[in-house]
């Protein structure tokens, strides 16, 4: 809780800080998500109705009210990646992780999502693991990256 207060205190009590606060709270959470309590805290901090905070959280696709894995794998699903085989990448990831899109592995390590264009089309197909961009994906490369994250980088 102390951490959350610290995060809040970094931001002025101004409505336009809402998204930034939500990003920070979500990033600091162990399961890449926001809780109802978080929303209430933020509403309190910014003196906004809870419904306003909820409204924003549910509008933006990067915020989640469902617990997610420690690492977010976001496979780019834009046309170029699509043409270069994003679908197969997704199938391969599902196979390697044993989960479907939007699901989290049992050990709580990974959540698999699709993303809009990540803007690195030259190395399609691409995925982003947390903030790391990984391009030119092949089944082998997927395995290496996933192993690396499994071993704690």
């Amino acid at each position: 809780m102390a951490d959350k207060q610290e995060i809040l205190s970094r931001h002025p009590r101004s409505e336009d800080r809402l998204l930034a606060i939500l990003h920070d709270l979500q990033e600091a959470s162990p399961d890449n998500s926001l809780t109802r309590d978080d929303l209430a805290l933020v509403a309190d901090h910014l003196e906004l109705p809870l419904s306003r905070v909820h409204d924003a959280v549910t509008f933006y696709s990067m915020f989640s009210l469902r617990p997610r894995g420690r690492h977010l794998i976001r496979v780019c699903d834009s046309p170029h990646c699509h043409l270069e085989g994003a679908w197969s990448v997704m199938q391969e990831l599902k196979r390697q992780l044993g989960i479907g899109e939007g699901e989290t592995t049992e050990d709580g390590l990974f959540t698999l999502e699709l993303s809009s264009c990540l803007g690195v089309c030259g190395v399609a197909p691409v995925m982003m693991v947390d903030e790391e961009m990984v391009g030119n994906l092949t089944p082998d490369r997927l395995r290496q990256v996933i192993d690396r994250y499994r071993e704690g980088q």
Binding site: E15, H23, A56, F59, Y60, L83, S116, C117, G122, V123
Partner: protein, 596 residues
């Protein structure tokens, strides 16, 4: 004594293909060979040809190495740095030692990307050494705000975000707007799939954007600016944050800039994954911390924007042009381009093309030059079918229209748009119905839901297209699609809805026969749509090598090793294409139409 500079591209694309490892092994190799005082490693922003990454450039002679791996580093050091012999196998197509001789670079005209791949974006000194902040200095010390605006107007610069509104006109509206304070916003919510020029500029030359904003702020009388960046661009965000800090420390942002009474500062705001926030009124709502939903215009943001105050929104690329207008003068800027489209435009080339990546060309260049010369054309053995330009709001132009000049008006006339500059080249393996469906999936998904025609209409169109590609289309579908397209265009508040039907309309206009084949013949001519093709083993070519059976994930490829021919069990086949790729004898083909 230093004799060589090695510029290692550290744009996102090169980093993702391993440039950091290359840089580290290079540093190690230089230390091992005792060359650290002679060869300097510099990290730069995007150099352009992302597919060939990691790339590096070696100065002074300008040797350009592509697809460098850590294993190549030792050879580069020994052969090139010690013996002065470039490593030929790492050169672009193994030939050109100097960049000027590569058509990809020779045909380009770099203004916006002039510093990308040349300077270290994390050092303001390098930006200044290349003439950076001269425009700001000149504007605040020698020019009145009105003079700056008239220069921008005279240059003919138009908004690079898509719509092409004249920048000078917008600045003038803003200057004359009543109300205070005034805000300026840099729209870096680059969401168009396939477009990544804004990311490259922010990562490779962030100060150009900051300077453009500062000049704009001076001209229109704003003291506070925001950069709204999408959260998918962490590297761009960190480079920009760093750059803003440096500019503040040097007195180029903050109070009394360059010891004048002009004060201006910039804050960053991060999006959270909503495409519609690239639309200016939605963007404003998002900066204010609200749902990013568009609202009707007028009032335009220059009258009532952030917190009801006059707000001017310019795109990244537009702002990066500003310094060239101020320093080089309007005439020089306007000497490039066409009558109505001045200057250069950055395009992101992607798809079935030899040179993918980021290129900057004069406006008015033909699509053919852009794709065939700069882009190197489609890979050998393929045929160009169409060029998709302008992203999900754009259209597909067929091969026969390749001579259309790339400017705002010409593209619009033919059902495409300049958009943000994404270009996807499609060859004969692309199904146009599927391409249209793909883009519509995107817009249907990203529709914020406020306007019913956009929310319901795009989904309905998508349902129809899904039926068509599944082989359940009817003759009534095409007229229905056209009718829906018109309603969505007319009944939507913002650009997302107004342009969402474009990919469908342009493919209907130029490739009606493909829709016809899907609907009437239940066949996908390009062999893409799984429900409208079947896999066939060519009896004469099959050698019963068993490869197909080994790779088939569903057991559809069947046969006994050594006893040709094999066959594909249609009921089991999921059309993944693994067998086609695995067959060493090209004995498996995808045939349009259903089996039997």
């Amino acid at each position: 004594m230093r004799r060589l500079d090695v510029l290692v591209c550290s744009g996102t694309a090169c980093v993702s293909s391993g440039s950091t490892e290359v840089k580290e092994s290079l540093a190690q190799a230089l230390a091992d060979s005792d060359l650290r005082s002679e060869v300097r490693i510099l990290e730069t922003g995007c150099m352009g040809p992302c597919e060939l990454g990691p790339v590096m450039m070696i100065y002074p002679e300008g040797t350009f190495y592509v697809k460098v791996s850590p294993d190549d580093v030792q050879e580069i050091v020994e052969e090139h740095f010690l013996k002065g012999r470039p490593v030929r196998r790492l050169l672009w197509e193994g030939v050109a030692p100097a960049l000027k001789e590569v058509p990809f670079f020779a045909r380009q005209h770099k203004l916006v990307l002039a510093n990308c791949g040349i300077i270290n974006p994390e050092r303001i000194e390098e930006y200044i050494a290349r003439g950076g902040y001269e425009a700001l200095a000149r504007a605040v010390s020698e020019m009145s705000p009105e003079q700056v605006i008239s220069e921008v107007s005279a240059s003919g610069l138009r908004g690079r975000g898509g719509a092409g509104f004249p920048a000078g006109k917008k600045w003038e509206l803003m200057r004359n707007a009543n109300g205070s304070p005034k805000y300026i916003v840099c729209n870096a919510d680059e969401g168009d799939p396939g477009a990544f020029m804004d990311r490259a500029v922010l990562e490779g030359d962030p100060h150009a954007v900051i300077e453009g904003m500062a000049v704009a702020a001076y001209a229109v009388g704003a003291q506070r600016g925001f950069v709204y960046v999408r959260a998918e661009y962490p590297l761009a965000i960190s480079r920009l944050e760093e750059a803003v800090g440096q500019a503040r420390r040097m007195g180029l942002l903050g109070d009394s800039i360059l010891e004048t009474d002009f004060s201006f500062d910039i804050e960053l705001r991060m999006g959270a994954g909503a495409f519609v926030c690239g639309e200016e009124t939605a963007l404003i709502a998002s900066i204010e911390g609200k749902r990013g939903e568009p609202r009707p215009r007028p009032p335009f943001p220059t009258e009532s924007g952030l917190w009801g105050c006059p707000t001017m929104i310019n795109n990244v690329e537009t702002l990066a042009c500003v310094r060239h207008v101020v320093v080089g003068g309007a005439d020089k800027f306007a000497s490039v381009g066409t009558e109505t489209s001045k200057g250069t435009k950055v395009f992101a080339l992607a798809g079935q093309i030899r040179n993918t990546g980021l290129v900057e060309v004069p406006m008015g260049i033909s699509l053919r030059e852009l794709v065939m010369e700069v882009g190197g054309g489609v890979p050998e053995g393929r045929n160009l079918k169409a060029v998709q330009i302008g992203g999900p709001s754009g259209g597909c132009l067929p091969e026969k229209l390749l001579d259309v000049p790339v400017d705002y008006e010409s593209l619009g006339e033919h059902g495409a748009i300049m958009g943000s500059g994404g270009v996807i080249v499609l060859d004969d393996t692309a199904c146009m119905v599927n391409v249209a469906k793909f883009f519509l999936e995107f817009t249907a998904d990203e529709s914020c839901g406020k306007c019913v025609p956009c929310r319901v209409g795009t989904s309905t169109m998508l349902d129809i297209l899904s039926r068509i590609v599944a082989g359940q289309g009817t003759e009534a579908d095409v007229p229905r699609l056209k009718e829906l397209a018109e309603s969505i265009k007319m009944g939507s508040l913002c650009g997302l809805g107004q342009t969402a039907p474009n990919p469908v309309l342009s493919t209907l206009r130029y490739f009606p026969e493909e829709y016809e084949a899907h609907i009437a013949d239940r066949a996908c001519p390009a062999g893409v749509c799984p429900d409208l093709v079947h896999y066939l083993v060519l009896v004469d070519q099959c050698r019963a090598c068993d490869r197909c059976r080994q790779v088939c994930p569903t057991g559809a490829a069947q046969g006994a090793p050594g006893t040709p021919p094999y066959h594909i069990e249609d009921e089991l086949c999921i059309r993944c294409g693994a067998c086609v790729e695995a067959c060493p004898f090209d004995a498996i083909i995808v045939k349009p139409g259903r089996k039997g």
